[in-house]
């Protein structure tokens, strides 16, 4: 177990100082880039802050984006604890979304208290099933899960295109019919888009925290990740652990799909995720692969995305520079990770 001790200086450096310095450094380099493009970096960054946290609506928009980033971050995190690198969160998110829409439009409308848990279960299972494929290939045939999970992203995205353009299209636009009202997640800040999916994300992070802190399964996942050979010698069935960890992760990404459909879009259409799962990977890394740290880092990335739109509007910085800053942030985070290891802080 490596999650709890927080009082040594080394751990403090590793867990807090390095990520904070990484983020600040990224913003510093980003400022130079913004200056080069002829804009004012302070206005740009002020736009990011006001655009993501400047009002109740902006905060709610940040929270809306936090949800899928957090859930897909947890998707990556849980598998990476076992040293399984699931980069297929995007496809698993879409599978969850597709399954939820098909179910919601097929079943007769049920009361929300029944309907939403059913849809969450369906979404979780759909994501987990899609993650099972790279998992079983890894466990049984030692096929590199990075490659298979990345390639499996494309199928659900293209399946979505097919469904909205043809099989499930409703009306003149490429989209399905709207799900029943009782399938919609409640909005928890009135007049905004902030929906209860965030609570699902936070609850998932807490459950994972408990799993890794208090359960045998959590111990076995971490032990497998630390040293699969030693774990096998200790009687842990590492293949099962590979499979379980990636499937739990896939299920969480499926829940992200549920959140996007039942909380934001209310129907299936192309482009419901602009690559949330890739932000999720970065969030898990920045969160030091800790479920609670991932909540904070997801919030940061969501604020950055929401704020980047405002930066474009408020400071006249081209959107490509917003992406550039996000990229610099990811590089600095990874650099901080390497530095941490080199300095022997973990």
């Amino acid at each position: 177990m490596t999650l709890s001790p927080l009082f040594s200086v080394k751990i403090l450096l590793s867990k807090l100082l390095v990520p904070i310095v990484s983020v600040l450094l990224a913003f510093g380099i980003g400022a130079i880039c913004i200056l080069i493009c002829g804009a004012n970096p302070l206005v740009a960054y002020a736009s990011i802050i006001t655009g993501s946290l400047g009002s109740v609506t902006r905060i709610s928009e940040t929270l809306v984006k936090t949800t899928p980033i957090l859930l897909t971050g947890l998707c990556f995190l849980v598998a990476s604890k076992a040293k399984v690198f699931n980069i297929g969160g995007e496809g698993q998110l879409y599978m969850g979304a597709i399954a939820v829409v098909v179910t919601a439009l097929t079943l007769p409308p049920l009361p929300s208290i029944l309907f939403i848990p059913i849809l969450m279960l369906i979404g979780f299972l759909a994501g987990a099933t899609w993650a099972f494929i790279p998992g079983i290939l890894k466990a049984k045939l030692r096929v590199n899960e990075i490659i298979t999970s990345v390639l499996l992203n494309y199928i659900p995205i293209l399946l979505t295109e097919y469904l909205v353009l043809d099989a499930m299209r409703e009306g003149i636009l490429p989209q399905t019919a709207m799900i029943p009202s009782s399938a919609k997640l409640p909005i928890f800040i009135s007049g905004t888009r902030a929906h209860a999916g965030l609570l699902i994300g936070i609850a998932s992070a807490l459950v994972l925290y408990i799993i890794f802190e208090k359960t045998v399964l959590g111990y076995e996942i971490e032990a497998t990740g630390e040293n699969a050979g030693a774990a096998t010698a200790a009687g842990i069935k590492v293949n099962n652990i590979f499979l379980i960890s990636i499937c739990i992760g896939g299920g969480l990404a499926g829940l992200a799909g549920v959140g996007e459909i039942c909380g934001v879009q209310w129907r299936l259409k192309s482009g419901i995720s602009p690559g949330y799962s890739f932000y999720g990977v970065a969030a898990a890394l920045l969160g030091k692969n800790h479920p609670l740290g991932t909540i904070l880092s997801s919030l940061l990335f969501a604020a950055l995305i929401t704020g980047a739109e405002s930066m474009q509007r408020g400071a006249g910085v081209p959107i490509s520079f917003a992406y550039l800053i996000q990229g610099i942030l990811i590089i600095c985070v990874l650099g901080g990770e390497i530095l941490t290891r080199k300095m022997g802080l973990r």
Partner: protein, 373 residues
Amino acid sequence: MFLLFLDNGEIKMASTKTWALLAIVLVVIIVVGAVVYYVTLPVEPETEKTKVACLLPGSINDHGWNQAWFTALQVAETELGVETAYSEAVTVADAGGVFIDYAQRGFDLIWCLDFGMSDAAIAAAEDYPESTFAVPWYGVHGEPPKENIVGYVQGEGPTPGKGIQDASYLAGILAAGLTESGIIGVYGAMPAIPVVAFMEGFKIGAKTYAEENSMALKCLQQFVGAWEDVSAGYETTVSFIDAGADLIYCIGDGISFGGIMAAKAEGGVYVIGGAGDQRPIDPEIIVASIDYDIPKEMLIMTEAVMNGTAAEWGSTSKWVEVGGNFLIDWDEVSDIVSSDLRTRIEDAQEDLLDGTIEVPFITEITPPLDYTP
């Protein structure tokens, strides 16, 4: 991770701790510099101008739909003195927040420029009645009138002779007149009604010319499935060229650009551009463009907002039409078009405008054209 430095004339490497120290020092310098810079920043006064914003699905330099709207914003700024803003590459997932943001910042007219964002615009319009939202094709198919939602369309009914199908009809004649292989191709983003009408208009024009000249003609067709995917447009065009097509007509944003790139790379193939004058991209490849008069559309609606008459448009489901010169701009047509073909198209254009011929507005895609005299 190491840093090189000199120690008594000898090159040595700094430890990772030095790197960490350097990073912290750099951060401190940046933070202090930022604070000093910020306190000396001049404050810009608030303006009372009418504010107009566009949510663009793609980039403002795509030589197509997005660039045309960016240009229209600039025209509105110059001619009407309004304050403008735009957001590029807005995704379906992000659109809701962007609409709300503009509405909260007091923008009077907010253009939704992608079908996929329509739901988000309509939802925002509900919560922000002070802002007017221009939504593509809203009201055309029976959507309930709303005070602050205005539909805008390209063609169909309201402007005979200037509809999307009419411009494509002329493009079809041009394509059939230019092809040497007897095979042409047309592709659009997805089977949304305007895209279908555009493709069908093209096929009708091509078939008309083929019948008049007793020539065999095939028209390949495809939906690419995306508006902005440059590589998808490229691949579709290559597949058309592999099937023998030597003239391609495409509508879309990035997909159109991809088609032009493929035609250039493959050689011996011409392109008819859409959604704005695309000839400057490559005048040797692009023989003509279907040019929307988007600035006119922008000016009509912005003036309505400034005069306080926008609500009338919304409450009656009237549509702002892409008016003006919606047909081929002859100043920008390639020299390879013969005078006979040019005359034929000019005649057709006149017939369209005076109502002598009427191109049907087809909303369901028909099989690919395969005409044998």
